[in-house]
């Protein structure tokens, strides 16, 4: 009798909160034996098999924002660029999940902030940087300024067997994706088998995380209904300026921290107010955390998720995040 295939060890997308954002790895765990055969079969049906790669999510830089609560402006963002560039293995992609800039009524000033954002991100060695807008980028003008610099506010692309979908839930004034984009999403997904690994990146959460703080997308249910037939869906978002995980049957949702200031846990406080700036720990609760500097490790010597997570747990007291895609049911 044939040994059943262990689908749990088939494919995983794992993520580690590096502090500079989140480092994700899309890794087929084995190319050998029956798992390898299934990999090849999946690759054939999906058009391209998943080959290992890593990418980083950054979010909510709010370039142009001046404290309080954060008097350091773009410092955390600049450090994020330095830390990514210092990684021993460069990720393939950086995904930026909105609020690249902080808004202003003065259009020229807002455009200048976008130029500053692009100037800083140009320092990244990573070859491919993809964006979606946040409401601070696109809320005032329906995304006109954003499109001048970065073109489409929603689109999709494929990378090493993973289908990435950028969704815009900020350009319509209300927190929604809207019927036009929903129709586009259905058409876009129609090309893919149900087993295709899909990573959606957007600004607001696509579920009711905290509607009273505008942490929701009013037609998020409709988006998730369109995605429901697909078995491997990961949704990455920003907006809430803190870590968060939300699990559904076919989809896992993860938020990244901000690069400007942090919001508290809505379950612990009544008012939506930023966590006050701590001058002794200026990057606390933001993206910046030292990954591995202690215990004889001079730096993260590899992109080993477990090593980094252990270091974070041991030295910062903050758990890393690990995410495992639901195994495909072939």
């Amino acid at each position: 009798m044939k040994k059943p295939i262990d689908r749990r060890s088939f494919l995983k997308v794992s993520g580690t909160a590096l502090g500079i954002g989140v480092l994700y790895k899309a890794v087929p765990l084995s190319f050998a034996g029956e798992t390898g055969a299934m990999m090849r079969s999946l690759g054939k049906s999906n058009g391209e098999g998943v080959t290992p790669f890593s990418f980083i999510q950054l979010s909510d830089a709010h370039v142009g924002f001046n404290g309080p609560p954060d008097p350091l402006g773009t410092k955390a963002f600049e450090r994020a660029v330095e830390m990514i560039n210092a990684l021993p293995e460069q990720p393939d992609l950086v995904l930026f999940t909105g609020d690249l800039t902080h808004d202003t009524e003065e259009k020229d000033v807002h455009a200048q902030r976008m130029k500053q954002f692009l100037e800083i991100s140009k320092g990244l060695k990573v070859g491919k940087i993809m964006h979606v807008p946040g409401e601070h980028d696109a809320g005032l003008d329906g995304g006109a300024m954003y499109r001048d610099f970065l073109k489409d506010t929603y689109y999709s692309f494929d990378h090493r067997g993973v289908h990435f979908i950028a969704l815009d839930n900020v350009s319509r004034s209300k927190p929604e994706v809207g019927p036009e984009q929903l129709a586009w999403l259905k058409k876009d997904l129609a090309h893919f088998p149900k087993t295709a690994p899909i990573i959606v990146f957007t600004h607001r959460p696509l579920f009711d995380l905290k509607p009273e703080w505008e942490w929701f997308t009013s037609d998020g249910d409709e988006v998730m209904n369109v995605l429901a037939p697909y078995e491997n869906v990961t949704v990455l978002y920003g907006h809430i300026h803190r870590d968060h995980e939300h699990h559904e049957a076919n989809a896992q949702h993860y938020a990244a921290r901000s690069l400007i200031f942090a919001f508290p846990d809505p379950a612990q406080v009544a008012q939506k107010k930023p966590i006050p700036f701590d001058k002794d720990h200026p990057f606390k609760n933001l993206g910046i955390r030292v990954v591995s500097k202690q215990g004889g490790k001079a730096a993260a010597t590899s992109l080993s998720v477990n090593d980094v997570e252990l270091t974070l747990k041991e030295y910062s007291g903050i758990n890393g995040v690990q995410q495992i895609l639901k195994e495909p049911s072939l």
Binding site: H102, D103, T104, E105, E135, G139, L140, V170, S173, K174, P175, D208, P211, E212, W213, E214, F216, S218, K272
Partner: protein, 126 residues
Amino acid sequence: MRFSKISEAKYLICLPIAMVLLLALNSSKAATADSPSRVIEITAKRFAFSPNSVTLNKGETVTLRLHSEDVTHGFFSRALKLDEVIEPGQTKDVIITPQTNGSFSTICDHFCGVNHGSMNMTIVVE
């Protein structure tokens, strides 16, 4: 002329009776439990609602009369099933009969400017 004096007399008698009946019906409608007996004016102006807190009685039907003094605003509370757009220069009446006690944050969910994220008010039901 087709109208006789009798017809004119009937008309003169019937009209006041109809008016009285109409008024009586309106009063009766106003007195029912499902009709609002209270109107609460709420004004939206970047980046606050005025007043920033209102108190309703559980089970009481009231009209929230919404205005904007500047740009388009939203008026949203998932818990109270409120999801309105307030256009400047227009009045939006929302009839509500809250059934649950509590303090409910209501936000502007129509992006209205740089401090949009802080535009909210509280509806207390007791």
